[in-house]
């Protein structure tokens, strides 16, 4: 049973995000980058499949040299090997352009199942997994919370949460599955795992290695483009209503809710 997990490196969710003065993107200096939390569920599930059926788990990650740290995190958890797609041409791609490059890389890999996080917590697009499945001509199920692969490894039964209940689907493998919180509890890498990760194979591929031309990936290959980033309006400070007891403060509150907040 071979799995490939598509992993994205994203800023830590606690990061203070600053937008470039021209609004073209965010300032990435000083940011702490981590593995997209939803991708971690994919890594954990791939490791569970490996433990149960044997085979291998591979990470596929696109990004500059800083993403190696994230890849090593996955390798430390127990993933066997990784492929990094690193080329300036990949930069600035939308979900389609990214999926395109990933799909190309996947053609050179063996897989029975491909995991993607249900969305990346930085741009929240929730598209790469689905586009990837289309490009590869594979079935896909999004937002899975439970996975049971059949003994013959030809199909799997997956649970996905829907409004008011659980939908159970049978899907033929290979397939693309996008992972959601609740699927598992991603493990914490052991120290021997961290040490071994330093020596695990990491295959870096550039545009040429994938055999793609620069027009089909990155900015040039994108169907959508970001024209501007703006920060949310700064929240005004909270107000504490002074006064002796509710008799005095309640009317003031009502007045403010009506006149200032205009909610009643």
């Amino acid at each position: 049973m071979n799995s490939v997990v598509c992993v994205k490196q994203v800023p830590d969710t606690e990061s203070v995000i600053k937008i470039k003065p021209d609004g073209s993107g965010i300032i990435t200096d000083d940011l702490k980058f981590v593995m997209n939390p939803y991708d971690e569920y994919g890594v954990e599930e791939a490791l569970k499949l490996k433990e149960k059926f044997g085979g291998s788990a591979t990470i596929l990650c696109m990004g500059p040299s800083r993403v190696v740290e994230t890849i090593r995190t996955g390798l430390a958890m127990g993933v066997d090997k990784a492929v990094q797609l690193d080329d300036p041409a990949f930069e600035g791609g939308d979900a389609f352009a990214t999926a395109k490059a990933l799909a190309e890389a996947l053609k050179g890999l063996e897989y029975d199942v491909i995991f993607c996080g249900k969305q990346a917590v930085d741009d929240d697009l929730s598209q790469v997994g689905q586009i990837l499945a289309e490009l590869l001509g594979l079935p896909h199920v999004s937002l899975i919370q439970k996975l049971q692969v059949a003994d013959d490894k030809k199909s799997a039964v997956v649970d996905r949460q829907v409004e008011g209940g659980i939908e159970v689907l049978k899907v033929l493998l290979p397939a693309v599955l996008t992972t959601q919180k609740g699927l598992n509890e991603p493990r914490y890498a052991s120290l021997p795992g961290i040490m071994k990760a330093k020596k695990k194979p990491l295959d870096v591929k550039d545009l040429a290695a994938l055999g793609l031309n620069a027009d089909s990936v990155g900015c040039n290959g994108s169907k959508t483009m970001i024209t501007k980033y703006t920060a949310p309006p700064e929240r005004a400070a909270g107000k504490i209503i002074e006064g002796e007891g509710p008799q005095e403060t309640a009317p003031k509150l009502v007045q403010l809710l009506r006149e200032e907040a205009k909610v009643i």
Binding site: D12, E14, V16, K32, Y188, A189, S190, L191, P192
Partner: protein, 685 residues
């Protein structure tokens, strides 16, 4: 009376005695050898540095009996009983040279040391024997009638006590017969011996019968002593032999410094999951334990009905060691060590319980708050906490096995350098409007104020940071902070067992501090204080580290800070483990309180070295408390018992724990919690 040549069944005594001694020694040496070989299975540990200081320490603790007298209280006088038996044992051990000696050397008596000695020593022995009997009766009463929780009423204890009492009784009998049959041998000052002699005469016992009875008493006495000797290495009375060694080999490192894992890149396993992976000194601890239970009655985990008892921890591991040890020795009497020994164990077919999960349950390992009270109270200076941390290290580093809530804490420390996981870039936001120097902008400071994670991120503790800054400003201290460059010191990570994460945080911080050429650091958090002061030197970080209470007291004593605004309150002070027991800062906070006019300082019953942890040490701050009672509420009760208006602390974790307990017990109307820093600020003129 010539004991040596007295014949029994035609064989002279000296031959019979020689045989008895040889047999007893054979048993004794065989057992000691066995124990020694098992001990050698343990890993290396250099405990031979500073031999002079080691000898002095051991002698002081033993000869002055400080080991047990240091914690004698009106409620627990057992230490006095021990001292009585100990000094009695010393006197009798000396007299036994003569008792056995006369079995070989005709006419040997105390007179060879002079008539004065021969006159007074028997008197001393009689007095001492009475003392020992008192001690024994007292010990028996405690074990079988009073039954304090810390003592277990085992048959072993009864046998030993019985032997000791019998030794004393036979001493009197021997003396009594000897006064009658050989008056010049024993001076008449031995008043009890003389009394017995009179009694025997009054009973009309013939002289020849008395001679025979004397020989019989002498023999029984000798055999009891030999029997006792053989029993020692089979029982908890092994401490008679090993306590001096254990005290000698005690760690000379600061108590607050855990042993680092040094070869992290090379090592294949981390921490301890097999008994033989402990160091020989850690195994010696197991042998030496006298099961007195002082650790247990001072252990917050045990007191709050959690599964951990340090006494049982040590004892269970000792039993396990003695069971598994022989398997590890194989046929080779322990000449191999380390991994060879493990392979040997697998081959030798040891199928008993595993150390972690079997001998010591995981719940016990996680119950420990690393408060160090067990080590503080242990008369033989056993080192419990490092054993627990070693097992945690195995669980965390090898198996990623820890309470589930801890994973987020580790991640938070990794990604945002604080256990709360609040964005690292916002670390200095609390100080935004205070006009404080940040070292990256201006490193020309006398003092680095190390704020710590709690002081930087926790709403309540931020107020304390601000108060300390106000004190600095009032006095005109030239200080600065690291701002966003400050990271978690790593205390919790290390004590939870994540040595890798700890070393990462520590080495990064040490680099930063060295980069700014920091010399002196002030911090309000005892955990940071202990780590920076005692543990960073292990990685090349040598800084002068001062706790806020020490710093404030110094300002007061130098007249730079005047506390003149009265605080009319009854205040108690709670000793933080890492400030008190680990670093013996007991007086500074109390002296500050006493310097504030109006303060009525009252002490909880358990204070200073016997203070009970708030429940947050050893990384427990970040774990759920599923088992037993809540430690913070138990400690709060100590305060409620003496009815103060305010409970003062000098540790952010302690304050958090108390404020939670105050809310939980709904006593906020009558009791508040404050840091000494806040009280200082309030009282500042």
């Amino acid at each position: 009376m010539n004991v040596a040549v007295y014949k029994i069944l035609g064989i002279p005594n000296f031959i019979l005695l020689a045989i008895a001694i040889i047999v007893a020694l054979a048993f004794f040496i065989n057992r000691v050898k066995h124990l020694y070989f098992i001990l050698r299975i343990g890993k290396e540990d250099d405990r031979f540095n500073d031999i002079g200081a080691r000898i002095m320490f051991a002698l002081k603790r033993i000869l002055l009996q400080l080991c047990v007298l240091k914690d004698v209280t009106a409620k627990d006088l057992a230490g006095l009983g021990h001292a009585m038996i100990f000094y009695g044992f010393l006197c009798f051990a000396f007299s036994y040279l003569f008792m056995f000696g006369r079995g070989f050397i005709p006419g040997l008596s105390f007179h060879i040391l002079g008539d004065t000695f021969a006159g007074y020593f028997p008197l001393l022995l009689d007095i001492v024997a009475l003392m020992v009997i008192t001690g024994v009766v007292w010990g028996l009463l405690r074990r079988y009638v009073v039954r304090p929780s810390r003592l277990e009423s085992t048959p072993e204890a009864a046998i030993i006590m019985g032997i000791i009492a019998s030794l004393m009784v036979f001493h009197f009998l021997m003396e009594g017969f000897e006064v009658n049959i050989d008056p010049h041998e024993t001076a008449s000052m031995a008043f009890i011996g003389v009394a017995f002699a009179g009694l025997f005469n009054n009973m009309g016992i013939e002289r020849t019968t008395q001679e025979a009875l004397f020989i019989a008493s002498w023999w029984i006495h000798c055999l009891l002593v030999l029997g006792f000797m053989v029993l020692i290495p089979y029982s908890k009375h092994l401490h008679l032999i090993l306590a001096p060694f254990n005290l000698f080999f005690k760690s000379m490192e600061p108590r607050g410094a855990l042993r680092p894992i040094l070869d992290m890149e090379e090592a294949e396993t981390f921490g301890v999951s097999n008994i033989e992976e402990f160091t020989w000194k850690q195994l010696l601890d197991l042998y030496t334990c006298a099961e007195c239970g002082r650790c247990e009655i001072n252990c917050p985990a045990h007191l709050s009905e959690k599964p951990l008892s340090p006494r049982h921890l040590i004892h269970d591991m000792k039993v396990h060691l003695l069971e598994k040890g022989p398997h590890l020795l194989g046929g080779n009497n322990g000449s191999e060590s380390g991994t060879d020994a493990q392979a040997e164990a697998a081959e030798s077919g040891y199928d008993g319980p595993a150390l972690i999960g079997g001998v010591v349950s995981e719940d016990k390992i996680w119950s420990c708050v690393t408060c160090g009270s067990c080590m503080e109270q242990c008369p033989v200076c056993n080192e419990h906490v490092d054993k627990i941390v070693d097992m945690r290290r195995y669980m965390v580093l090898m198996e990623s096995n820890f309470p589930p809530e801890i994973q987020a804490v580790f991640r938070n420390m990794e990604n945002n350098s604080n256990p709360w996981g609040i964005g690292w870039a916002t670390r200095a936001d609390w100080a935004k409007d205070l006009g404080i120097k940040i070292l990256s902008e201006d490193s020309n400071v006398d003092i680095l104020y190390w704020v710590g994670c709690a002081g930087s991120f926790d709403e309540r503790n931020k107020k304390i940071s601000t108060a300390l800054v106000n004190i600095f400003k009032k006095v005109g201290v030239n200080f600065g902070i690291l701002g966003a460059e400050e990271k978690c010191c790593g205390d919790s990570a290390r004590r939870i067992g994540n040595e890798y994460l700890y070393q990462m945080l520590a080495t990064e911080t040490i680099e930063i501090l060295k980069g700014y050429n920091v010399k002196k650091i002030v911090t309000q958090c005892p955990h940071c204080y202990n780590t920076l002061k005692n543990e960073y030197p292990q990685f090349g970080g040598d800084f002068e580290v001062v706790h806020s209470t020490e710093f404030i007291l110094d300002l007061i004593e130098k007249g730079k800070l005047k506390l003149s605004k009265p605080i009319d309150k009854t205040i108690t002070y709670h000793d933080s483990c890492y400030l008190g027991r680990y670093n013996t800062v007991y007086d500074a906070p109390r002296k500050i309180l006493q310097a504030i006019p109006g303060v009525n300082l009252v002490e909880m019953e358990r204070n200073r070295a016997k203070s009970i942890c708030c429940g947050a040490g050893g990384g427990r701050m970040w774990m759920e408390e599923h088992l037993g009672k809540r430690i913070n509420e138990m400690r709060l009760q100590d305060a409620l018992d003496i009815n103060p208006n305010l409970i003062s602390t000098a540790c952010p974790y302690c304050l958090t724990m108390f404020e939670d307990a105050i809310k939980e017990k709904d006593v906020q109307e009558t009791l508040t919690g404050k840091d000494i820093i806040e009280l200082t600020e309030e009282a500042m003129a």
